[in-house]
Symmetry: C2
Subunit: 112 residues, 2 copies
């Protein structure tokens, strides 16, 4: 068993978003996806993002407003959202107090 | 974009554990893993489990005490634990009040 602790993970800032990528754990060969945590501060929104990887995200803390070509939805803690390949998306934290913490798994669509 | 809501997912009881498997969403062909949420009630422990699939779990609510051959660790909300193929494990919720909610992704080890 291995444990991965988001509170001690190395993270980088991407615009206003704190991103902790799992490459730091060297588990790439044993997992069929890449992974990261990211944190969106209260009142902040992630930059519009678009990438070939399919991305499945779980809201771990707070609440997300996720917007894409297909509209905007509120995703509460515990729920998940799946972003398709090349689907432009933003993730907004409308709270005034609670950071939004998301865990994401992502992979190239041909690898499913 | 698709949203998967744990609060409305179909779930079954496995011993004392409520399990909502993602087969119900029909996304198996587009994801390189299977997935589920499970809930461990306050004061309860999952039955010892052992399976060939590798399993990566994220604690979404509450706090888990995860035990395996390699010992016991506390995994707080936001953190993750990886169970190897055929590693016997239990997940305990020592809280008196807060349900433990876990999201798990699992896959056969040859598929990484």
């Amino acid at each position: 068993m291995r444990v991965f602790d988001n509170t001690t993970a190395d993270a980088d800032w991407v615009a206003d978003i704190e991103v902790a990528r799992w490459e730091q754990y060297g588990v790439g060969d044993s997992m069929p996806f890449n992974a990261m945590w990211y944190t969106v501060r209260p009142g902040s929104t992630s930059p519009a993002d678009r990438h070939p990887e399919v991305e499945l995200s779980i809201v771990v803390q707070g609440s997300a407003v996720v917007s894409s070509d297909s509209g905007s939805v509120v995703v509460e803690r515990g729920a998940a959202f799946l972003i398709e390949s090349d689907e432009t998306h933003t993730v907004e934290n409308r709270s005034f107090a609670t950071p939004l913490l998301v865990f994401s798994a992502y992979w190239m669509p041909g690898n499913a």
